[in-house]
Symmetry: C2
C-alpha cells in the first residue's frame, strides 16, 4: 500500500521547544526533509507571534517551502485571522486544531467545541469566497481520551467529524496528542470514520507517550487509513497537554512501514542524515528514535523493488 | 483475552549486563515481580559460570523462587548438562536456545541447527527417562532475520518448529532477538506456527531495537498467540548479537494490553514499584519504558472490571 507520511516537525516540533530556530535553518531542514522523499510538510503556524514567537516567521518559511517542487506545504491556523494570512501566503493546505474534549479545546483555543466548529465553518466559507484552492484539514484532538476529562465519548468524536465534513472541511483525521490511544480503539474509531466520511476521512496523528505509537499506526492502517503524521526525531508534543511529549518518530515509522511492504517513497539514509541539521541548529535538544542508532537490519529492502538505491546503512 | 506475560528480566536482562546482582537482591526482585501478578518468570540460566558468572547462583535463585506460591519458575539451559542441573533443581520449565540462522546458532551455542535439534531431543529423552514433570520450551531465535545472514527462510523456521515438536518439545515459540521483525511478518509466521502446532505453538519474544516491539506483539496476538515475553525496564538483549539491545518493556506491555481489553492479571502500580529494586541494586543501569514516567492515562481501567484495585497513578 502507498502510505503518505505527513511530517509535522517544523510546526509541531519547533513550537514545543522554547528556542526559535532561525528561518534559514528551518528552510535547510525542510529542504532536506523534502529531498528524502517526504511529500507533505507542516512548516509552521499562522498564530499570533506573542503566543508562539517560534512561529513568527511562518510567512517567510511558507514562501521558501513553496519553491520546493512537488511538496505539499501545510500550515496550522487557529482562527479566521490565521486562515486569512495562510490563504494569502499561498500555502497548499491548512490544518485547524479542535479537540473533542471541551476542556482541552477551551484550554487550547479558548472556545467550546461547537464554537470551534463554527469558526471552521467560517474558514471554509472564506476559502470558498476567495475561490482559494487551499485544502482544509482538521485533526480532532483528544479523540482517544483527554488528560483532563479522561474518557471521551466515541460517539461525540464521530459526530464532530460528521459536522466538520458538513461545514466544508476536506479531510477530518483523528489525533491522539496525549498518547492515550490503544490499537483496538484506533482500529474501531478509524473504521467508523471511514464508514462515515469515505475519502474525506483524514490521517492518524499518534503520539508515543506510553510507547504505543507505532502499534497504533499499524491499527490505523489496518482500518484503511493511508496518511500518517510523524515528526523527525520525535520532537514536539502538545504544549497545552502537560507531560504529553512524544510525536512518533518519522525515521522509525518509515522503517516499520517499508519493512511491512508499504511504500512511503522515502529514502531512509537521506531522512536520517537530515537529523544532523537539528543537531547543529538546536544543540542540546533531545532527539528520539531507534533506527537512527540501530540502522536498518541486514537484508532490509524497501517495499518498492524498483527503487534504485537500497539503503547503505546495514550497520548491524 | 487472557494474555500471559513471561518475565525474562532476571535471566535475559541480568546476563546482558556485566555486573552480577546479589542473590538476595535477585530474590527480592523476583518476589516483587511475582507479587505484581506475573505468573511466569525466567529466573536464571544453568550455564557454566565461567561463561556467565552473573548466572552462577541460578540453583539458589530457583530454590528461593520455588517458594513463591503460584509462580511458574523457568530457567534457560544451553545443553544436556544444563538440563540435568535444571531438572535436579526442581524448576517447572526450561527453555533451550536455538537459532534458525546457522551462523547465529553457531556463534551462540557452537552447534549447527541440526545439532541443536539433536541436543534438544536428548534433553526431551532425559526428561522422559527421569519421569520429570518439567516443561520444555524452545524459542527459535533469528526467526525473523539475522544480523549475520540477513533474511532467514521462513519455511526453514517452520520446518525447525515441526522437528522440535516432533522430538518432544512442549511448546515452540518464535523469537526476534535482534529486532528485525515487522507486524506483517509476525502475523504471517505465528499464523503458520499455530496452524502447524496448535496448542504446542509457544510465545512471542520480541525486541524493540527499531521501535517496533509493541506493534509486533499486537500482530502476534492478532494471530492467536497468548504468551508474550518481556523484561522489566527493558533490560537485556542478546549478548551474541551486536547492538541488539532492547527487550520490550513489561510495564509498557501491560499498559498496552490492558488498554486493549486483554487481561494480564498484573497490577501496574506494583509492577512499576519493582523498578526501584533495580535502581537500588544496579545503580547507573539504564532503565527503559514510557509508562513508568508518563503514568497511566486518566480514565484508564484494567481489562477485568472485577479487579478491586484500579490504578492510583493517574499522573497526568
Amino acid at each position: 500500500m502507498n502510505i503518505m507520511i505527513s511530517e509535522v516537525g517544523p510546526r509541531d516540533g519547533l513550537q514545543s521547544i522554547n528556542r526559535s530556530m532561525l528561518t534559514a535553518a528551518k528552510h535547510r531542514w525542510i529542504t532536506a526533509l523534502a529531498a528524502s522523499g517526504l511529500r507533505e510538510i507542516e512548516v509552521g503556524s499562522f498564530v499570533h507571534p506573542i503566543l508562539l514567537p517560534q512561529m513568527a516567521d511562518t510567512g517567510e518559511v511558507v514562501r521558501e517551502a513553496l519553491k520546493i517542487p512537488g511538496l505539499t506545504v501545510m500550515a496550522l491556523v487557529p482562527n479566521l485571522k490565521g486562515a486569512q494570512n495562510a490563504i494569502a501566503s499561498g500555502v497548499h493546505k491548512i490544518t485547524v486544531p479542535v479537540a473533542a474534549s471541551q476542556l482541552h479545546n477551551m484550554a487550547n483555543v479558548r472556545m467550546t467545541c461547537e464554537q470551534s466548529i463554527d469558526t471552521i465553518a467560517k474558514i471554509c466559507r472564506l476559502r470558498d469566497e476567495l475561490k482559494s484552492p487551499v485544502e482544509i484539514e482538521v485533526g480532532i484532538a483528544s479523540a482517544f481520551g483527554c488528560t483532563q476529562e479522561g474518557r471521551v465519548s466515541e460517539d461525540w468524536v464521530i459526530e464532530m467529524a460528521r459536522r466538520l465534513a458538513e461545514v466544508g472541511v476536506d479531510s477530518v483525521g483523528l489525533s491522539d496528542s496525549v498518547g492515550y490511544a490503544n490499537p483496538t480503539q484506533v482500529k474501531r474509531m478509524f473504521t467508523r470514520l471511514i464508514a462515515l466520511l469515505g475519502t474525506k476521512a483524514g490521517g492518524a496523528h499518534m503520539h508515543n507517550t506510553r510507547g504505543q505509537g507505532l502499534a497504533n499506526v499499524v491499527a490505523a492502517i489496518d482500518a484503511g487509513i493511508t496518511t500518517i503524521d510523524a515528526s523527525q526525531a520525535g520532537i514536539g508534543g502538545c504544549p497545552y497537554a502537560p507531560g504529553a511529549t512524544g510525536n512518533i518518530v518519522t525515521e522509525d515509522l518509515v522503517y516499520l512501514l517499508e519493512s511491512m511492504g508499504h511504500d512511503t517513497g522515502i529514502d531512509l539514509d537521506q531522512l536520517v542524515a537530515a537529523r544532523t541539521i537539528l543537531l547543529e541548529c538546536l544543540p542540546g535538544e533531545t532527539l528520539y528514535g531507534h533506527v537512527a542508532d540501530a540502522g536498518v537490519g541486514k537484508g532490509f529492502r524497501y517495499a518498492d523493488p524498483l527503487r534504485i538505491k537500497q539503503p547503505t546503512s546495514a550497520t548491524q
